[in-house]
Symmetry: C2
DNA sequence: GTGAAAGCGCTAACAG
DNA sequence: CTGTTAGCGCTTTCAC
């Protein structure tokens, strides 16, 4: 339990005042080239690094960013976290991770905690839309994936082009000749899923076909099992369909396994397109055609915007749509 | 940007000194039932919550725990993080996540940052064994999964019973009649993988068979592709085998897809057992038999131990081995 | 160019 | 039981 070396020690060692050391550290000017060198050398020699708590207390700023995410075990979110955290770390920030498990109550408490810890900013990855965020201290924030419901104005929001994704997915199957395409989605109709649905409808219109409304199926849970059970139900109820657009790769996989278990051939009899391009879609026995979201770009942009907000810079655009692409594999 | 209410405001409002408010907040006694009620009421009324920075600076303690993990997108690690974070949050701690990407250099820098931020403790999930951790301030730490190489003595370490897992896996296949079982593992021979290997050998011995040394294959990378390529190579080189024990579910899946792509029937011709029981093993088209690690228990125990360490309590045991179990599915 | 000093919000002696 | 006070490590006026 060795004592940490503080700015005072450095000052004494360098024969200057703490003020000067502070100036040198923060590059605030008003010191001679000579002292700068000396102070820097001593700092290095003694492996000194400033105590973030003292600094934070004084400046009322920490170098910590809160990141709120509904489910860290979801690979798609995990990859966003990874990107965000990587970029943040490079910029000298640390990341406080808050896993809300899609639980509004938990999410609310996390926001309090982030506030207590005086985070410099927040990145919301797909929060639950039903939560009204209270953000009294006006902490800068960037939202990703789902349009938030918050008391804040001037929301900075990033999402993939979900509409285009939905359109591409349906188009791919329509091109292959499908005419009865099931759309498996989230019954909560979050903004992202809603847009995908609209893209799905648009594609149909472009092909001059009117999608059966009953083919748009809202699941109460986004999971393998939910999709599996639903598809089994469809088959057993003798519903005729020749394509499934699953608004998540896990749903696509659930569908695929359900079909295969009933002896239905994919892609010969039924085609499938997923969404997100998580690794499972590539590595299952029948690799799934899916829509890729550019996670890297998302993470970079989010961090870039957040840091600008923190620095009080003006942001030219508040709303960003990132391009998606169709990844063609074996289910179409 | 409303001004935060501080302990001073509460003191003034309640007509007491800040010291008294502090005592009430921390339950340090030495105040009357009467003042306690009043202070608590005012706190609630004004929605006050103490500034963690001031507190941390003063006590030289934060309520933050650093969690170092090699790959957050690995579902197994993500689940541990989830559990750890959940339990930590309940106990009033926040979690600083450090994703090292198995990069020793990055890991080192993360340790510095954790130190700068004066975390109260650290949980290491499977760090890279080649890194010598420097932990000058003696921050309490709990290690999980891989035995660390650190300057610290008195390491608190938790792992699954990897030996038993390896034994169960091999035993399962031997029971099914397999006699030529490939073991796909990490060439770096981390403690966990090493133990699984020993279990694998033990099981063979119990069945009176001597495993071919060439069947123990160290992969330079733990991924679907690595396993896929290796198994393809084995098949093309005409190596005869009737079972694969993959020390990770992703390796098992890669093996499975490789076999199927060559028209080899699983489990009829070759049996497979994986490790970790991540969701992919359950949900692929041929569900994979695997060894389950009890992630929930791991997370709980890790947090429990860490909090004890932080509170300066003595820990009776330094080394914990958690039971594993065979989850029988369709590949055996 | 540099230093002295105030103070960020909080806790912990110490004195009463 | 309660208040006064010193100071945690740092930044930032303000003077010189």
């Amino acid at each position: 339990m060795k004592k940490q070396v503080t700015i005072k020690d450095i000052a004494k060692l360098a024969g200057v005042s703490v003020a000067t050391v502070s100036r040198v550290i923060n590059g605030n000017g008003r010191y001679s080239k000579d002292t700068e060198e000396r102070v820097l050398r001593i700092i290095k020699e003694h492996n000194y690094s400033p105590n973030m708590l003292g600094k934070g207390l004084r400046t009322n700023k920490t170098n910590t960013i809160g990141i709120v995410v509904p489910d860290i075990t979801n690979e798609f979110f995990a990859r966003i976290i990874q990107e965000v955290e990587k970029n943040l770390f490079r910029a000298g920030y640390t990341t406080l991770v808050c896993n809300t498990s899609e639980n509004p109550e938990l999410e609310k408490r996390y926001l309090e905690v982030l506030n207590l810890n005086r985070v410099s900013g927040t990145i919301y990855i797909a929060g639950d839309t039903r939560v009204k965020h209270e953000e009294p201290r006006g902490i800068p924030a960037v939202y990703i994936d789902r349009w938030p419901s918050t008391t804040r104005k001037d929301i900075v929001f990033i999402e993939s082009d979900n509409f285009e994704g939905g359109r591409l997915a349906a188009q791919e199957m329509l091109k292959c000749g499908c005419r009865r395409i099931i759309f498996l989605t989230d019954e909560r109709r979050t903004s992202a899923h809603q847009s995908r649905c609209e893209g799905y409808i648009r594609a149909h219109r472009e092909f001059g076909v009117v999608p059966d409304e009953r083919f748009i199926i809202g699941l109460s849970e986004i999971s393998f099992d939910a999709a599996y059970n639903e598809v089994i139900r469809l088959i057993d109820n003798n519903v005729k369909f020749d394509g499934i657009f699953a608004s998540t790769d896990w749903l696509a996989l659930g569908s695929l396994v359900a079909l295969e278990s009933r002896g239905i051939k994919v892609p010969e009899q039924v085609k499938i397109v997923g969404f997100d391009n998580i690794s499972i879609s590539k590595h299952c026995s029948t690799p799934i055609t899916t829509i890729n979201q550019n996670v890297t770009q998302m993470g970079e942009l989010a961090v870039d915007l957040l840091l600008k907000l923190i620095d009080g810079k003006e942001i030219d655009k508040k709303y960003y749509v990132l391009p998606v692409e169709l990844v063609k594999r074996s289910t179409t």
